[in-house]
Symmetry: C2
């Protein structure tokens, strides 16, 4: 008897976050669970102007089918920005517009992964990537994150013992941990991957959102064409457009374009035109500064509240950018059990275990600060502290 | 030595149409090659109004992340329309918003197809579906199209000799052939598929564009939950939005939502809101009437010109709707060779062989009439007739 469904779909972890977000759809709950940017900064008026402009000036074209690669001036804009910000020379032909970085991940799986191919992922790792890659049934190897990035000793052993095609990581303000790789670590990772001919999939949705310290070069600067780089407009403009991009060398890009075409022909062309118009008519750097200023304050409020209210057994990360912070509870505590208690106290978070591919992390959890008003952050952390203390005793 | 790319990607036919469209990017060429709707009917002004309205009324929400399933009122609208037009009872929960029907095809492959699973496709079949499904490495079985739909005898034998999980077809004004299944044929197909427990993937992007004869019920009316139905706003509103949908029973939908989430989280939410606003603020039926009126005239002009200028050895379909018409040349002619001759005469078409999974169809070709001005159609057909006559002699 044949099975109705493909085997691959039975391997997929159900999105726990999705389920959680359903539970906490209650305005009384202070939610640190989401991964949403703060809508206060969505440039509604500017998007309206951009949209009116492209429709008025080129209406029939902006509503027609377009090329799989994406709108060329938008790809040129992205290439220019990499050069200005990072000194990275990338040609627009090496950029493919995708439906958010999430589609970039899917296209990477589709283009590169055979069943059983070795894939390294950070521990904890980004849930959306675990889900997306799982469809291609790779062999996951996870490498723990230390304070300054991935554990090099474990990475070295993993590369020696396994044939790993890809290493997926988020070196800037990682989701879920908020950890950033130091420059030394980036260089060391690049060197190890170069030696083992492993491609680094460098996901960088938060890179522009640094509010403490100095920017550090992308690993692509060191590993060059052995890197596939992902970016997104979701965190710096607006997520609804589902516009991101993936950067890869031309030999890889030729195949990825075929994968993109088979997946959905091309990304929403109207949205590409609107975003481009918005970017050239506005000062995006000023816009990003405003976001960073507020996220920085929200992060500070959360870190200070944790220091004030949490018991000393709790350890936590102190992110220099991005949207998330990571909590490690004493070993014997379960964040899943804590979740039910927390909901009763009207505060929510994401339990950590779904971010592990090896069943670990039961005593960890993720907190988001970008989408919670400053004044609510202290209140929520206070409630959470109460729940943690109760669980410890 | 491991291979850089996934095996699946080496199986994919390069999009011939894509290559062709590059060749004919010359305004002097009369192109019957594209598959584009006529941009004259894109509701530019109405889309502008809808966009301004949703941004003014609910700006921060329309720019935020949203649900994987899609905007509920839009799914309700689609469900209502199926009931009004077809008497089909579909609940909004059975509808998933996708990036055009193309993504629907990819999600079906992802959710249902294991390598080697039997898949039936029409001969000739829709190229985008062949490409999309090829990524999941099914065993293709093609069944020829007759004037009133698929050849039932061959279908019966194919089902008897192979374990076929899916049958993909376009019963209304098929791409590429323009053929429509008769009602009797639809009933017979449903019966055969029911007996073999094969799911019919009913792709219906052109169903609303009938300009001759009466609407015929969808096969879903007869095969019920053993059907997966695909629809799209690309041909009735505008393609740039990349908004389509897929309808399936809840047991299937639960899995397809996981596939969609892993693929790109959700479709462009801003675009969903704009399209919905457009649909409720405007008379879409009147809009579709205008499209049908013009496409009908364009189709008539093409059919009449073919009758007048083509030599009698050429056979062709006379579509009752949609955008395409299919030409069969004498067996010894190659439409690929004809293509090069035609380009010199400044007329273009799509050679037929890429629409076959079995290497057949070398003497066939596809003509599009929807995106060519009426006065150019006669001129282009005249040039093409000249080329065909030269090739015959």
């Amino acid at each position: 008897m044949r099975s109705l469904f493909a085997k691959r779909i039975n391997d997929i972890p159900k999105s726990f976050i999705r389920e959680i977000l359903k539970v906490i759809d209650n305005p009384e709950i202070i939610s640190f669970a989401g991964g949403l940017p703060n809508p206060e900064f969505f440039p509604v008026e500017e998007i309206k102007e951009a949209s009116n402009k492209v429709l008025a000036e080129d209406g029939t074209n902006v509503l027609q089918y377009s090329t799989t690669e994406g709108y060329l001036p938008l790809r040129e804009y992205i290439a220019d920005r990499y050069f200005k910000k990072q000194g990275l020379k990338i040609s627009p032909e090496q950029i493919l517009i995708t439906n958010g970085s999430q589609q970039g991940l899917d296209l990477i799986g589709k283009t590169f992964l055979n069943e059983g191919d070795g894939l390294i992922i950070e521990e904890p790792g980004y849930l959306g990537a675990i889900q997306s890659f799982s469809f291609y049934r790779p062999k996951f190897n996870s490498v723990p994150l230390l304070e300054d990035g991935v554990d090099l000793e474990v990475l070295k052993d993993t590369l020696a013992e396994n044939d790993c095609k890809l290493f997926y990581g988020v070196p800037n303000f990682q989701n879920p941990s908020g950890i950033t790789y130091s420059d030394n670590k980036r260089r060391a990772v690049a060197k190890l991957l170069e030696e083992s001919n492993t491609i680094f999939v460098e996901d960088d949705p938060y890179g522009e959102l640094r509010f403490i310290g100095e920017d550090i070069p992308l690993i692509k600067n060191y590993l060059k064409d052995n890197t596939i780089l992902l970016g997104s407009f979701s965190k710096i403009v607006a997520p609804a457009f589902r516009l991101g991009w993936v950067v890869m060398s031309m030999d890889k890009m030729e195949k990825a374009i075929v994968a993109k075409q088979a997946s959905d022909l091309h990304s929403n062309y109207f949205a590409q035109r609107v975003i481009y118009q918005y970017l050239i008519d506005n000062d995006i750097d000023q816009h990003i500064s405003r976001i960073k200023e507020v996220y920085g304050r929200q992060r500070e409020m959360m870190v200070n509240s944790i220091k004030e209210y949490f018991p000393p057994e709790i350890s936590f990360t102190e992110p220099e950018g991005g949207m998330f912070l990571w909590i490690t509870l004493p070993k014997e505590l379960s964040s899943l059990e804590l979740f039910d208690m927390a909901i009763k106290e009207k505060v929510a978070f994401v339990p950590g275990s779904p971010f592990y591919v090896n069943g670990q992390g039961k005593n960890t959890l993720r907190l988001n600060y970008s989408n919670v008003a400053e004044e609510k952050i202290e209140e929520g952390i206070k409630s959470l502290a109460k729940v943690i203390k109760r669980a410890i005793n």
